[in-house]
């Protein structure tokens, strides 16, 4: 038996599921192969970022995740018993999505699965393991082991979202660059009814776990993630003994604490990524392409940004509206993102697990000063939480010809803001899925002769939407007559102080990967 499909996705983790939903939103069917026979049970990721929620909003999954999860934005870091650093991830209001929502990864996957089933065009096959894969420049071929035996599937494009131990990556003969860390961490999810606030609490050298660090973070249903740094030379078997975990939890909360252990695991972290996310007809996304330590929530959140970056490009290439090389810019942009996430999370690990006497002395000095003096607090690093990547230097961006003072950066996503209009109350409801020109002014001021396949949204009096609080102007840093070219993934491709037809045509061609043709 052999079958052929336009798109096959391997792996129904958060990244594979998100990619399938993004494709479905563009009416692109996909076959999704998953070796598990049912939803996963143990949780891994718990923190879902604002950008992830913005992406899921467009496929109808953000609200269910918000409703089911817990919203937070404040983090506190303690040294011994004292507060050493505090951060607020969303000090300024005016975003549709919260800074972060915490929800167990398996529950999130369940919500994504509901949307996958409702989409109608996603052929999800459980208990189906890819055992072998290969690719030419024309198609990819998979041997799979399904509930009814083994068969072969070929496809025009293969999305490899098969996780850290990717079979597809192995078969392509690709290796990851980066580091593996020796320190082990005990991740325990416990159920208890506590009165602690919904904040991210992190301790360096607390009295209940001396010489090491601990993270406490709330999830939904009264489940709390408690993450203990264990050091290098520990016996996983001993450490996962429920009696031993009970002692650790009691040391933290007192002997009277009542709790149940939901899930326990021991981790060591990797910081590594592929040098190229495209291999012929295979596109790697998520953990198959990059792995980082979880302190910063940059794993799945980056993988979901991979999916949104990939899907519109794949769609344009498949409909012959862009050259195949547009998919190489998927690799360019997301390798850049992976390298940035790797650098940031490696700095965190270096702070959290000092590897030499000197490293430890530097950290002790920093924490000691941070306890008393404000200047040292920003140096305390317990994880820098996931933000949307600004793809600096992207080949798809048109270099600015003027200075824009706003918060939005070229190559980064448009920041949300409240608006008035007929299609929603937020700016991001008006961009995405296709190329959009945001124009500051009334509809009648939009220059005539813009490309017909470019949607124009005029912002202002007499336009399509109104900037009700001035936050659109503040965040875009624009004024009357300015134009901003937004890609289908809501990232900013070009901007002008005054819009010209030639400028927009060239910017659009570049953003579609046709710079030479322009």
């Amino acid at each position: 038996m052999s079958e052929h499909h336009p798109i096959v996705i391997v792996g129904a983790g958060p990244v594979g599921l998100s990619a399938a939903l993004e494709l479905a939103a563009l009416d692109r069917p996909s076959v999704l192969l998953e070796m598990r026979s049912a939803e996963s049970d143990g949780s891994r990721a718990i923190c879902w970022s604002q950008r992830t929620l913005e992406i899921w909003k467009r496929v109808g999954v953000a609200q269910p995740v918000i409703d089911r999860g817990v919203t937070w934005q404040v983090g506190k870091v303690f040294y011994e018993e004292d507060l050493a650093y505090e951060f607020d991830l969303q000090p300024e209001p005016g975003f549709a999505m919260p800074a972060f929502v915490n929800l167990q990864q398996n529950i999130v996957e369940g919500l994504l699965l509901e949307a996958v089933e409702a989409a109608g065009v996603i052929d999800l096959r459980w208990a189906t393991t890819v055992t072998e894969s290969s690719s030419t420049d024309e198609q990819a071929t998979l041997t799979v082991d399904g509930p009814d035996g083994s068969y072969v599937i070929s496809c025009d494009w293969l999305i490899a979202a098969d996780g850290a131990r990717s079979t597809v990556r192995r078969d392509a003969g690709l290796s990851l660059i980066g580091r593996t860390f020796e320190d082990k961490f005990l991740i325990s999810d416990i159920r208890m009814t506590g009165t602690m606030p919904t904040e991210r609490w992190f301790w360096f050298d607390p009295p209940f776990h001396q010489g090491r660090s601990t993270l406490l973070h709330r999830q939904s249903d009264d489940v709390w993630r408690v993450d203990f740094q264990l050091g290098r030379d520990v016996d996983p078997e001993e450490e996962t003994d429920p009696e031993r975990i009970k002692k650790r939890i009691q040391a933290m909360f007192g002997d009277d604490i009542e709790f149940e252990i939901e899930w326990v695991s021991i981790y060591r972290f990797q910081s590594r990524h592929l040098e190229n996310f495209r291999h012929r007809r295979v596109l790697f996304a998520g953990d198959s392409a990059h792995q980082v330590s979880p302190f910063g929530a940059r794993g799945a959140n980056a993988g979901i940004q991979d999916a949104e970056n990939l899907v519109w490009k794949l769609d344009l290439v498949m409909s012959d509206a862009a050259p195949e090389s547009l998919l190489d810019t998927y690799s360019d942009e997301r390798v850049y993102a992976a390298a940035e996430n790797l650098a940031v999370t490696t700095q965190t690990i270096d702070f959290m697990t000092p590897q030499s006497d000197t490293d430890l002395a530097l950290r002790t000095a920093t924490l000691g000063l941070a306890r008393r003096h404000g200047f040292a607090r920003p140096l305390v690093n317990s994880g820098r939480l996931s933000v949307a990547t600004v793809h600096h230097g992207s080949p798809l961006s048109t270099a600015d010809s003027a200075v824009f003072e706003g918060d939005v950066e070229l190559g980064g996503p448009v920041l949300d803001a409240p608006v008035h209009g007929s299609n929603g109350d937020w700016l991001l409801d008006y961009v995405g899925r296709e190329f959009v020109l945001l124009f500051y002014g009334s509809t009648s001021d939009v220059p005539a002769g813009l490309p017909p396949d470019l949607r124009v949204v005029a912002v202002g009096e007499g336009g399509d939407i109104v900037d009700i609080s001035g936050l659109v102007a503040k965040r875009l840093g624009w004024s009357e007559g300015c134009g901003v070219l937004v890609r289908p993934d809501q990232h900013l491709a070009a901007r002008w102080k005054s819009v010209t037809i030639a400028g927009v045509v060239a910017g659009l061609a570049r953003a579609r990967g046709m710079a030479e043709a322009a």
Partner: protein
Amino acid sequence: MSVNLDTLAIDDGDAFYEALRVLHDGKTPHESAVLNFRIILLLANQVGDEALQEILRVATASE
């Protein structure tokens, strides 16, 4: 900004040297290292980014 590498900007150099030295009296090598880093961090924040780059460069070039 260019870093002053030619003249001592401290009034009584010998007294300063002595003060810095006695700070470490009775300290273990680790405690001394921590203290040194505390001093470095405070000084670094005092001088700011620009001079700092230059100081780090001169310091590593003077081994």
